[in-house]
């Protein structure tokens, strides 16, 4: 089959969140280097997740309040995130600190980029629009390995693994290893998958899990193509 093109700009977002106060897996911790910003998605829309130079993690809406430019295209300097378009600079609280076109002006406190809640467990970055009552689901004995997107549905992925979905996740084996697949639907035909594996695996076993994940994607997408 020909996968539909995942455009990733949030324009065709259709999945409604059960609640905004819910942790959603958005990235592998190790995939967000210190001093960088990456795009990700919540059911409420696209977000920008960034790690400051000192390693602290933050997230906000993927949209500069000035001209709507995606902040995930921006850059991190020290403990601030800047927009690539006009260089507006935001602090760890989401408040605008600097408008370069007017260097001597202190921006009003009302200008902010919509800070979100983030947490890290099992090497997973979780985000939520509103603060959830509980910490994110913890999976003892597991560590995040990698993420990918499958052009399919959670049900088709569950069918391809012969497993059932519990709390938005699948427990299965991949490449002969225990694995947990965290799933976050990105649209009607797109699922973000974050795979957790045992932390003590050797290189060959990790590669086997990664390869098996690719194989799972091929079969889940083939199921959708046949449907």
């Amino acid at each position: 089959m020909t996968p539909v093109n995942p455009v990733g700009d949030g324009t065709y977002w259709t999945m409604a969140a059960k609640t905004d106060a819910q942790w959603v897996p958005v990235a592998v911790s190790a995939d967000i280097l210190a001093g960088t910003v990456v795009p990700a998605r919540l059911p409420t829309g696209p977000i920008a997740v960034w790690r400051s130079a000192t390693g602290n993690l933050y997230a906000n809406g993927d949209r500069c309040p000035h001209r709507g430019m995606r902040l995930s295209h921006g850059f991190v300097r020290g403990e601030t995130l800047s927009c690539i378009y006009h260089g507006w600079r935001f602090g760890t609280d989401g408040a605008c600190q600097k408008i370069p076109a007017h260097p001597s002006v202190t921006p009003p406190k009302t200008i902010n980029c919509g800070p979100l809640h983030v947490a890290e467990t099992n090497g997973v970055v979780w985000a939520a629009a509103k603060e959830p009552a509980e910490p994110p689901q913890f999976y003892p004995g597991y560590e995040a390995l990698r993420s990918l997107v499958i052009v399919s549905t959670p049900a088709a992925i569950a069918a391809a693994t012969n497993a059932t979905i519990i709390d938005g996740a699948i427990q299965t084996t991949l490449g002969g290893q225990d694995a947990v697949l965290l799933m976050s639907p990105q649209g009607p035909q797109e699922v973000f998958i974050l795979v957790l594996a045992r932390p003590n695996l050797n290189l060959a076993d990790r590669l086997a899990v990664s390869s098996a994940l690719e194989a799972l994607r091929r079969s889940a997408e083939a199921v959708e193509g046949a449907a």
Binding site: D9, G10, T11, P46, D62, R63, P65, H66, R67, G68, M69, R70, H73, C83, I84, Y85, H86, G87, I99, P100, A101, H102, P103, V105, I111
Partner: protein, 280 residues
């Protein structure tokens, strides 16, 4: 529904030097059109069996879906025989045609998007300038826009403070008059002509009329393509796709007064193809 006012405006649909006699299918304001070179001896445009009015000007073919109540604007400065007229060529952009124009009216992004060419991060300040909607000609004008530029034009040797004037004579067209390094006292003319295909897709036809005896035509085309393609990656990543006319949706500053006036002028005329009136 699309207001009739925008149907009555003129839009660029092709380079006169690049028209095909066999015709080329395109779109205008969401409607299919076909653009012909010399089908009946002259360039022509058809839409759903209708022959549309055409004007040949600024190296481009222009048309309208409605009944234009005024002639296509002119740029008298561009008529000077010593100017080089530069057909930069079309670039398709997945953005609102109005966002493409608004970006062209903005200098504050130069240090970050056109770094070390049109701006430098060490000189980001936009000083106050003058903006008005000129009722007699029904155009948006910004004057006395000054900005420090490391390499203002292909012909510029080093960093200079450049003076700009911006003019919006039609809903999807903008003209920039800019300090001309080799000829103090004259203005270089740089335009952005936008063909609105749909509300979030456009063909952009930049065109220039410059005093430049040094640079080759190819150099001039490449310089402008370089600049516009740097903008393209911004334009395709603004959310929402359509230009918000609701003031609560985006946060302007004094540097954005040209864009504020442009949005106000669009709203006043119901030029809303590619605009979003209320937050979604």
């Amino acid at each position: 529904m699309m207001p009739n006012t925008m149907r009555d405006a003129w839009y660029p649909v092709g380079l006169l030097s690049g028209l095909s006699d066999d015709g080329k299918d395109s779109q205008l304001l969401g409607e299919p059109i076909s653009v012909f070179g010399a089908k009946n001896g002259r360039p022509s445009v058809e839409s759903a069996g209708r022959t549309l009015p055409v004007v040949e000007r600024f190296g481009h073919l222009w048309t309208s879906l409605g009944s234009p109540n005024k002639d296509l604007f002119t740029i008298p400065e561009a008529d000077h025989p010593e100017r080089k007229l530069v057909d930069v060529g079309v670039v398709r952009v997945k953005c609102s045609p109005l966002r493409a124009v608004e970006n062209f009216l903005d200098v504050a992004h130069f240090p970050f998007v056109h770094t070390d060419i049109l701006g430098a991060e060490s000189h980001p300040e936009v000083s106050d300038y003058k903006v008005e909607i000129r009722d007699d000609v029904d155009e948006v004008w910004a004057t006395k826009v000054e900005f420090f530029q490391p390499q203002a034009a292909k012909s510029a040797g080093g960093g200079i403070t450049t003076e700009y004037m911006y003019r919006v004579p039609a809903p999807t067209c903008a003209v920039l008059y800019k300090t001309c390094p080799p000829r103090p006292g004259e203005w270089d003319v740089i335009t952005l002509f936008v063909q609105p295909l749909t509300e979030d897709l456009c063909d952009v036809w930049p065109w220039m009329a410059l005093f430049d005896d040094e640079s080759s035509m190819t150099d001039l085309i490449h310089f402008q393509q370089l600049i516009f393609l740097q903008d393209r990656s911004i334009l395709e990543n603004q959310l929402p796709k359509r230009l918000p006319l609701d003031p609560a949706m985006e946060t302007p500053t004094r540097a954005d007064l040209t864009s504020v006036a442009y949005r106000r002028w669009l709203k006043r005329h119901n030029y809303t193809f590619g605009a979003q009136l209320v937050a979604e």
